[in-house]
Symmetry: C2
């Protein structure tokens, strides 16, 4: 719809970003070309740089630029605790709370039989080896509270229990700052059962 | 917050896109690194390519890759009509209607005295020269229906009237497909005045 193939190409490329449809992509492309060509170049370089240097930590699989991430390398972390999350973004969220001093294991996604994603695809074998290394005393299952995340936590929990390891799950309950009236009933029911 | 400077740099660069805050930017960056590195490279190249090849048409200022855009070069367009819009995105919207066969003039923005943007900054001198070239019979003011767009249309309209040129403004009225109950009162008032 524009008079420029490279502008069309830019709009198509921007649509690959999550949550960006054709209208947002056009708006972004027009904005960059009209008002922020320097920003476009910065973004182009940042993408190239990230693709070239961001890889996965060999121990926990989170994003890092070295062989091991700074969390795995930090001797002050409590190696007896292992927190299992679905993605590097989830790991980053747990880390930002400042409430956790153990180590992490980032799954390569979640179990999803409908999409053909089984235990092998998300690296469970490696997790079981890691959890059985003799140092880990507690595995904290912090997968998402979605159907697939719950199923993943269940499968991991059962497998680790069979190996005689202690597993815990993040507490379910009422989010901080929320009013009961607006919290969904399943959450309130869980908060009642897990009351302390 | 992540263990990678280049990932942080990518998040910062993505925040320069309009409508993208720190949460969306993180989500985009994690998505690209985790699931779509090819998309990241495609986007990087598309940005580089667009910055290098997209320029402004010498006649109407819209985006193009040659000296003149395909609309200005098209001999079938009606050169007696000149549609004035604020941005290439607006020009693209008018063009997509298929209801206009004349030529365009894309302003370099809109008059905005508070931001120090005056007639010179948006290329009004060039517009007045173009409108007075003897070929143009009607100037259609299609700036936005915001305070600044209306002021811009008013200033251009007065200046062209003083030069003896006919100007028209896009009709104000009820949007197609809308229910009166939900249309704002100013729009209904205008639709009443301009009824036909």
């Amino acid at each position: 719809m524009t008079d420029s193939n490279s502008l069309e190409g830019l709009i198509q490329a921007l649509r690959r970003l999550p949550g960006v449809g054709v209208k947002s992509a056009s708006r972004m492309a027009f904005h960059l070309m009209q008002h922020d060509r320097e920003g476009a170049q910065t973004l182009s370089r940042a993408l190239q740089h990230a693709v070239g240097s961001v890889k996965h930590c060999e121990r926990c699989h989170t994003f890092t630029e070295g062989d091991l991430c700074s969390t795995c390398l930090d001797p002050r972390r409590d190696a007896s605790k292992l927190c299992v999350v679905e993605t590097p973004a989830d790991q980053s969220a747990v880390e930002r709370t400042g409430a956790y001093k153990g180590l992490y294991f980032v799954l390569m996604g979640k179990l999803s039989p409908l999409d053909g994603i089984g235990p092998h695809d998300i690296g469970l074998k490696k997790l079981f080896d890691r959890a059985s290394d003799g140092t880990v005393r507690e595995v904290i299952l912090a997968t998402n509270f979605t159907a697939e995340g719950e199923a993943t936590a269940h499968v991991i929990g059962e497998a680790l229990k069979a190996r005689g390891l202690q597993t815990t799950r993040l507490a379910r309950g009422v989010p901080v700052g929320s009013e009961l009236e607006y919290v969904d009933l399943g959450t309130i029911a869980h908060a009642l059962v897990d009351r302390r």
